[in-house]
């Protein structure tokens, strides 16, 4: 199983895709709902949180080089408590995947093909993800390496084309309702960035770890830039009031766009989110299967992929009554839940590991 070899760039690129795709699709409306026209401040604030998360995860990965987060939490906390932590992480990966699938499917059925059963999208997406993950992590990251470049080019194109309609004076006045909404937005965004904890499942397979920390910090800058554009765009185009309350603001923007005879460029958005969601779902499927395999000390994770994939479809269907409920969940509950698992648990791991390493060092000096 340890024959998987990926490069730092590939690992970070798939993390970027997996965070931005669902982030743009499902999180931007939530953050806009919290902090409205001051959302860009939320993004800037969450930069610190992001750096913190990235620092902790990469440090842990560098300390326990060939181990996944599921393995080293056992090393750090001992078997019983470590296993409990692992279960939390695995559940989080699994749950995030179901949310991403549901969001992707709901996006299609609300905005593009209302008559097609949502199960069609679930099944196709999972079939594709299962196939890719069975081929190995290398295939997934390499596919993503190609698609992310295309995605970023499309993203830049889309934001350039909306430029004539944007009036950045709509961002004024700043902080009209004080800091509280901005902080709520920042916490919400931090919960999205918590997904970075999944890096703990793929970093062990990187063969060139030398500059991992530096590149990871660069990743945080890229992520923030990728969020600043789409989060200010709805406000700049529709104003601080109407910009809030769309189910898919970026999609709405592309839909309303018309440059001369070039109209209805929603296709660009659909492409962006489909490819991005695929990367996220496949990565989470990989992490869940690998995590379960490591948890029970199985020698191979591949037999688990199909059952977990099938489970993903069922759970995505069962997870909520309607899309509004998911939106509410993202708005009210997800920040606490995701920050607990994505920030608090790794912090505990990091603290105990630091203490452990120090005592080990002290002991070795004593002897």
């Amino acid at each position: 199983m340890n024959s998987i070899k990926i490069s730092t760039a590939q690992a970070l690129m798939i993390l970027i895709t997996s965070i931005t795709a669902t982030g743009h699709l499902l999180f931007i409306p939530v953050i806009l709902n919290h902090s409205g026209r001051d959302s860009w401040i939320s993004v800037l604030l969450s930069f610190f949180a992001l750096i913190y998360i990235i620092y902790i995860i990469t440090s842990l990965s560098l300390r326990y080089q060939d181990q996944t987060i599921v393995e080293y939490s056992e090393v750090i906390l001992g078997k019983p408590l470590g296993k409990i932590f692992s279960v939390f992480f695995i559940f989080y990966f699994f749950h995030d995947a179901t949310l991403a699938i549901r969001g992707f499917g709901e996006f299609y059925t609300t905005a593009i093909t209302p008559d097609t059963p949502i199960l069609v999208y679930f099944t196709l997406m999972i079939a594709l993800a299962v196939y890719t993950v069975r081929q190995g992590l290398e295939v997934l990251v390499r596919t993503n390496q190609i698609s992310l470049v295309i995605l970023i080019i499309i993203g830049i194109m889309a934001s350039m084309m909306t430029l004539p309609e944007k009036d950045y004076r709509n961002l004024l006045p700043i902080l009209e309702f004080g800091m509280q909404p901005v902080l709520l937005g920042a916490i919400s965004l931090t919960s999205l960035f918590s997904t970075f904890v999944i890096a703990g499942m793929i970093f062990p397979y990187i063969y060139d770890r030398k500059s991992l920390k530096r590149y990871s910090l660069l990743t945080s800058v890229i992520l923030i830039i990728l969020f600043l554009g789409p989060i200010t765009a709805p406000v700049a185009v529709y104003g601080g009031e109407r910009g809030v309350g769309f189910l898919f603001p970026s999609f709405q923007l592309l839909r309303d766009l018309s440059i001369g005879d070039l109209q209805r460029l929603d296709l660009l958005g659909i492409m962006l989110w489909s490819i991005g969601s695929f990367a996220k779902i496949a990565l989470h499927l990989f992490a869940t299967s690998l995590g379960v395999a490591k948890l029970f000390n199985l020698s191979d994770y591949k037999p688990l992929i199909i059952p977990i994939g099938a489970l993903l479809i069922i759970v995505s269907l069962q997870i909520s009554e309607n899309f509004i409920e998911i939106y509410r969940f993202f708005k009210d509950i997800y920040p606490y839940y995701a920050n607990l698992i994505g920030v608090l648990l790794p912090t505990i791991l990091f603290m105990f590991s630091t203490i452990q390493l120090k005592t080990v060092k002290a002991r070795s000096q004593d002897v």
């Binding site: 609300t110 905005a111 593009i112 093909t113 209302p114 008559d115 097609t116 069609v120 196709l124 004076r169 004024l172 006045p173 009209e176 185009v237 529709y238 104003g239 601080g240 009031e241 109407r242 709405q252 839909r255 309303d256 018309s258 109209q263 209805r264």
Partner: protein, 381 residues
């Protein structure tokens, strides 16, 4: 094994490429315009669809067909339309939405919900108001246009080339303006025009003033360009002014370049709006004998144009603020600059517009005079 795999792959293709709900072009009716009237307590929605070429009724007839139904909500009425149309209605090519005056007076907020919610409708459609029945507008045979909705939309589209400044309000802008405090929208008013006793064409007759989402009045046609001027949406247009040497004669000036800038200052918490306007253009007509070689005359005309623009902007401001509508978006500017002050004044009974002092600075420049320096009228002695 390999054969089975290939077979499965082919089977997969068969399942995946199928169209779930195909929309063949000959099975749908493409809606290009929609009119909404009030009928008792019901909304009467008229949809105009394009007739396919083969089914045209020959010379002179419309290339379109309109159907009407009345229900309690717009969405309901639109669904009812599908009940009477032989083909399913297809909305993504909607170009214009016409509101009857009665609907606009009651509030357009309640009727645009369907258009922003439905995934098929198009936010780039123009919005206009009419004093006539919207249904009649869509059903009227006009000269030089076989598709009424299309003609109206292209009329608005080409407004700049025609030198007619219009609000050009689109559905997406409408919902933005309605939800932004401190700015009220204006909507173009369209009506049927009689020529020699018969209705033969359309006409843009002034601009409707909105307060929130309700129509509260009209700005007359001769000064309604001022709204676009103040909001820097004015691109081309024609300004007429009296001759410097006589009240009875006039000079017509065509604006080719226009820029305006609003700035807000406060003295004793009373806002002063300063507009700096720069415009240049050509003289396209003069009915008086005046020597344009004389630089004094040129600057005199420039002064008159300047006065005319100031007058238009001031009069429009007075008229609209009397009705309580903030068409220049001054409230929004106050909010951007002084959010605290805005919080205090936004809900006051007495409208904040009464305190606003308006200063308009115009820099008018005559650049060209057409192909002649000295018109014939100067030579007639």
């Amino acid at each position: 094994m390999k054969l089975i795999k290939i077979f499965l792959l082919l089977l997969f293709c068969l399942v995946v490429v199928g169209c779930w709900n195909k929309q063949e072009i000959d099975e749908v009716a493409i809606v290009i315009g929609v009119g909404i009237d009030k009928q008792g307590d019901r909304y009467s929605v008229t949809a105009q669809v394009i007739k396919p070429q083969a089914e045209q009724t020959g010379e002179g007839g419309l290339m379109t067909w309109s159907i009407t139904s009345s229900e309690r909500t717009v969405g309901d009425a639109i669904n009812e339309l599908n009940n009477i149309s032989p083909r399913r209605l297809y909305w993504p090519h909607l170009q214009i939405v016409i509101f009857n005056e009665a609907i606009a007076e009651e509030g357009v907020g309640q009727v645009i919900s369907w258009f922003t919610r439905d995934r098929g409708s198009r936010a780039g459609s123009y919005v206009v108001v009419t004093r006539d029945k919207a249904e009649d507008l869509l059903n009227q045979t006009i000269e030089l246009g076989e598709m009424p909705a299309r003609s109206m939309a292209s009329f608005i589209d080409t407004a700049e080339i025609r030198n007619i400044p219009l609000s050009k309000l689109k559905l997406s802008n409408l919902s933005s303006i309605l939800s932004t405090p401190g700015i009220d929208g204006t909507i173009d008013v369209i009506s049927l025009k009689k020529i020699r006793g018969e209705i033969e064409t359309y006409q843009m007759v002034g601009t409707a003033i909105m307060k929130k989402d309700q129509l509260i009045g009209y700005i007359s046609t001769d000064i309604d360009d001022a709204v676009q001027m103040a909001n820097n949406e004015y691109k081309r247009g024609v300004i007429s002014t009296v001759c410097p040497n006589g009240e009875t004669h006039h000079i017509t000036f065509r604006v080719t370049d226009f820029e305006s800038e609003k700035s807000l200052t406060f003295s004793n918490e009373k806002p002063t709006v300063t507009m700096n306007i720069f415009l240049e253009g050509n003289i396209i007509d003069q009915s008086c004998a005046i020597d344009l070689l004389d630089p004094k005359n040129i600057s005199k005309i420039e002064g008159l144009i300047k006065k005319r623009v100031q007058e238009m902007i001031q009069t429009t401001f007075n008229e609209t603020s009397e009705l309580g509508a903030d068409v220049y978006g001054i409230g929004r500017e106050i909010r951007r600059k002084r959010p605290k002050l805005w919080k205090e004044i936004q809900d006051e009974e007495r409208t904040y517009l009464e305190d606003v002092k308006l200063e308009v600075h115009v820099d008018a420049n005559i650049r060209r005079t057409g192909l002649i320096i000295d018109p014939t009228i100067n030579k007639i002695k």
